[in-house]
Amino acid sequence: MTKTPYAELLAMLSRHRGVVGSFVVSERDGLAVDSNVQIGVQAEAVAALAASLHRKARLACGAAGCGIVTFLRLDAEKGGICAAGRDDLVLVTISEARANIGLLRVEMMRAAKALT
């Protein structure tokens, strides 16, 4: 299997406490470019949902004059999704409630700048 340029980046994010999966997703079509997920995580479904959510948020922020979306966090009862985008590519993590979101956010925003 070919190793993508994002493998190390995704491995680093997946080592964070509470992170059960990380992805690089194409926002345009919702397909996962690369992923690093624990067993049981439906990578394709997460990728598609995260891409769709990021796209909606980007369009809404554009309409509202808020500028370009740099980070997105969706919180739920048992965990959440974080996404940081650059052009068409979006870096996504799915995490449990025990994750340190502040640290994850900083790492993701830094990593997103390296997405090409």
Binding site: I68, T70, A76, E77
Partner: protein, 294 residues
């Protein structure tokens, strides 16, 4: 008074988390520095949102500014936190009296136990009862405790008239300001949007002052439905909040009662954690308001 304000300001500067903000805000209010008093009280409430006395101080500031609607909201909040809060009952009684709702005012003031009745409460109660007794016949304007005339003419219906609801129905013209006291600056906006993407309350203006609330509501409603769908598929439970950071602003959303969604936006200068706090505060107001509306 300036010496007291200076001393309290120094105390607060030394320990910003201190509860001295309540005394400082009240001292500023009494000195007539209402804008500064408002800022001090609002910032203090950011740190201590569950202090009934702090809501009472903020209510007094609003009342002194002539904003009885917001004053009423804050006193109601104080009573939710402490149902026996005498000053909040007194304040709401005052507001009801100003609105000409003497029955409600009398009922409100009567809830203060005699043992806790300050001379001020007793005097206010006596004044209301006196006005109620004098009302049916002469039609004379009632004079409120501070000596100024009531904001609206006092109704002269007999006492046998059924009591009006304890809280008046919301004024549609005020719904745009519903979240003003929950926010912390002019660069922050809040909107309550129904399930169809229609604005229920709040306001959103762009940099040119144009009202774009409808556009924002319609666009962001799609985001909330997407969030709900994502969480359902992932089995992570109900979504609690969505925070979007963009170049120019931070947008936070959370589900509100009756399928509505609350949206708060703030400029990038606002710390991300504070936006979540503002969202929680605005959600409290939205819940209260929806209860009153429905």
């Amino acid at each position: 008074m300036p010496e007291e304000i200076r001393r309290l300001s120094d105390d607060l500067a030394r320990d910003p988390s201190s509860l001295v903000f309540m005394r400082l805000a009240d001292a500023l209010r009494r000195a007539g520095q209402l804008d500064v008093a408002l800022r001090v009280a609002v910032r203090g409430l950011d740190r201590h949102p569950y202090l009934p006395d702090a809501h009472d101080v903020l209510a007094r500031i609003h009342a002194d500014r002539g904003d009885l609607e917001r004053a009423s909201d804050e006193w109601e909040m104080a009573l939710r936190l402490d149902p026996s809060h005498a000053q909040a009952n007194l304040g709401l009684g005052f507001v009801e009296f100003r609105r000409g709702d003497l029955e409600s005012a009398e009922r409100r003031l009567s809830t203060v136990p005699p043992a806790e009745q300050t001379p001020g409460v007793a005097a206010a109660l006596a004044h209301v009862r006196s006005a109620l007794g004098a009302r049916p016949g002469n039609g004379a304007a009632v004079v409120v405790p501070n000596g100024s005339p009531p904001a609206e003419p006092v109704r002269t219906s007999p006492r046998s008239t059924p009591l009006v609801p304890e809280f008046p129905p919301p004024d549609p013209s005020r719904t745009k300001q519903l979240f003003d006291s929950a926010l912390d600056g002019s660069d922050q906006h809040a909107l309550l949007v129904d399930a169809d993407g229609l604005v229920l309350a709040g306001a959103y203006t762009d940099g040119s002052g144009n009202d774009i609330a409808d556009v924002i509501a319609a666009e962001l409603a799609g985001v909330s439905s997407e969030a709900e769908r994502a969480m359902r598929h992932l089995g992570l439970g109900a979504w609690a909040s969505l925070l979007v950071e963009a170049d120019e602003a931070i947008v936070a959303m959370t589900p509100a009662p009756n399928g509505s969604v609350l949206v708060v936006t703030a400029s990038r200068r606002t710390p991300v954690g504070l936006v979540r706090l503002l969202l929680d505060r605005a959600l409290g107001r939205a819940r209260d308001w929806l209860v009153r509306v429905s």
